[in-house]
Symmetry: C2
Subunit: 398 residues, 2 copies
């Protein structure tokens, strides 16, 4: 194994210039910048002897030409809007470095992990056979409403076949990623060996009220959808801490009032709500709590609330043998500076885990910031993470 | 006096076709449809012998050519987006009917009562000298951000002089309007003689948090601006009913989370909040309550909240002599079917009241609905309102 960490950093620096925004990157899925980054990746793959393909959903796969057993290594190239330079890119460039070091690794950039379209993870779900043509037909860009089919056509991907994971080819799949939290930083640690990826259940909660003038409608007469939404969110804020697990998170990321005008009582409110946990049991309990709170809202408030599941990802435990290889590598290369930890964020590996043993390695995020252009990680930590990933892969491949 | 109520209804029917949307009207301020309605009004004014002018902020004034004492009568022509056919239009067309009946009435359509730009009431505030050139420079369309200066230029109004109320010309100002509530309908009444117009204080409450990934950031680490906003709104929901007056209203019409994406913790939240009351004392008490709740939020929550006044309109009592004239007219024409009542909505008359005695007459709104295309009033009620308005004006002019 001949790991070139300078070239690894150079590749990250080159990639961050494609769609550069302040010190971060703006590379929405299928945008010209995103497609440029995919072409750049295919050129790098070809340079180091991998066989590059782009498929009908935008996945870029670079196949190792030698004998196996093979590892699959990768992550995603597109970013959230005006986001960071490492989220996704680190795992792809890290996979490239493994292959360049001579390991029998296929490198993959999974398309749309960041959910610019529909519920996201289009690429990893397509690879495992969990993305139907009907879902592609129905999906739209969540910012501007562009149909996914139109976006694929504009990116030159329409009509290309979609790849599937080749049965029996891989011993496992690896993904290096920034932590997107502050557990490592706060603990003075440099490496996280991921024990599993949390599940996430995401919901649309919609409230139907009546749009009225704010002045002429007495408080007693109103059906204010915004007030009903606020009361339910307050009930969640009160009740979830009593029902959650140790590392559960829950978030209202999106609220839309209609018409959202200062002098008009909101006639409709939409809330996008999610919770995450590593335990299915905890998630079942929280789902029951949420359903009970919505029922209570419907008994108490004048604006009917409806609860619609938007997406659901099951928790994915990491493979013990792969974790062991990474842990041994960390003991050698970062003694006393690593820990096992769950991933609170979901990743492509969560979907790949339905077909293959998976493992993930975390490096620290400065200030825990991600999905923002100020996201950053020390270059020393990037290099250390790369070394542990490579040594862990070497040991696992045996 | 020779009141033509058929022609009055015809004018309303003609006007609702300009910018028709379903059974309502979409005539945003300075849009082509709004400007067409202003030109239509100037033609009607000229037909009945008034001298029409449009000024540099879009006010249309039709001056009576005969001797005084004069009344000023009017309301506004633009509408909220996709709103009703009577809100504003009724007062303008009602004024036109007074002038056509031979009364010494100047008719005015005040521009942008509906606050498409800045804090609204551009026309009535301009007429009383309460709209500065600096405010015009700084104002933008609140939906698309178009600078007010650009909108005035596109409407052909740039460079026209702005009118001022002529000192000593008017004995008072009258405005007929739909109730925008259900007090009349629920009481089986057909006429409201307005006793005064509520004051309104409007605020921007902004919360600064930190934008982070929803999965990787533990609940304890978060600075979720959306949660902080929700908690303050819940405190208002709990505390305001204990501090308010009999007819106080309070409303959160607008909430904006940034970036408002399902998987990102809101880094910033903006809330537009207002309250209304007929009593300055009650409003002072509510303002003190609001300030205390924001201070409490800043002691308790991790996301600093700032409270910024956006607009403030003082309560405006109606003129006793004008109210008496309208009440006597209602006793004759609608015995047992009228009541005195405050206006919970603000109107151009609130600003005109700073210079002239004012009075307002309400007709019922079906279901209390306004600012929505389903807004409506029975034609019999419109005609009765018109008759009471005319008879009240005749008596007041004496």
């Amino acid at each position: 194994m001949n790991l070139d960490t300078d070239r690894f950093l150079q590749d990250l620096d080159t990639l961050r210039r494609i769609g550069a925004y302040k010190t971060g990157v703006h590379r929405p899925t299928y945008s010209p910048e995103d497609m440029e980054s995919r072409r750049w990746l295919m050129q790098r793959m070809a340079e180091i002897g991998l066989e590059p393909t782009i498929d009908g959903i935008g996945n870029v796969l670079g196949r190792h030409r030698g004998p196996g057993p093979h590892l699959l290594a990768g992550s995603h190239l597109e970013t959230q809007n005006h986001a960071g330079w490492l989220d996704g890119a680190l795992g792809v460039v890290g996979g490239l470095a493994l292959a360049r070091a001579g390991l029998p690794v296929d490198v993959c950039a999974y398309a749309d992990e960041e959910a610019h379209f529909g519920s996201g993870f289009l690429g990893s779900r397509s690879l495992i056979g969990a993305l139907s043509e009907e879902e592609i037909d129905a999906s739209r860009n969540r910012f501007d409403g562009t149909p996914l089919r139109d976006a694929l056509a504009a990116a030159g991907l329409a009509g290309l076949p979609r790849l599937s994971l080749e049965e029996g080819r891989y011993k496992g799949a690896l993904e290096m990623h920034i932590e997107q939290g502050t557990q490592l930083e706060n603990g003075g640690l440099r490496i996280g060996v991921v024990t599993g990826i949390v599940g996430v259940r995401q919901w649309l909660i919609a409230f139907e009220g009546r749009q009225d003038h704010t002045g002429g409608t007495t408080m007693a007469e109103r059906r204010d959808a915004g007030v009903a939404a606020m009361r339910l969110l307050h009930a969640i804020d009160t009740e979830f801490p009593r029902q959650c697990g140790e590392r559960t998170t829950w978030t209202t990321g999106r609220i839309v009032l209609e018409p959202n005008a200062p002098h008009i009582i909101p006639g409709r409110a939409e809330v996008t709500f999610q919770f995450r946990d590593i335990s299915t049991e905890v998630m079942d309990r929280l789902e029951a709590t949420l359903r009970a709170l919505v029922r209570e809202s419907n008994r108490r408030d004048r604006c009917p609330a409806t609860l619609t599941p938007l997406s659901r990802a099951e928790p994915a435990p990491c493979d013990p043998a792969m974790m062991r290889a990474l842990t041994e590598a960390a003991e050698d290369l970062a003694p006393g500076a690593f820990q096992p930890m769950p991933s609170g964020a979901i990743h492509d590996s969560q979907h790949i885990a339905r077909k293959l043993p998976v493992a993930m390695l975390f490096v620290p995020s400065k200030g825990g910031i991600s999905h923002h252009w100020t996201e950053d990680t020390d270059r020393d930590d990037l290099v250390l993470g790369m070394k542990v990933l490579a040594e862990g892969a070497r040991r696992f491949l045996g």
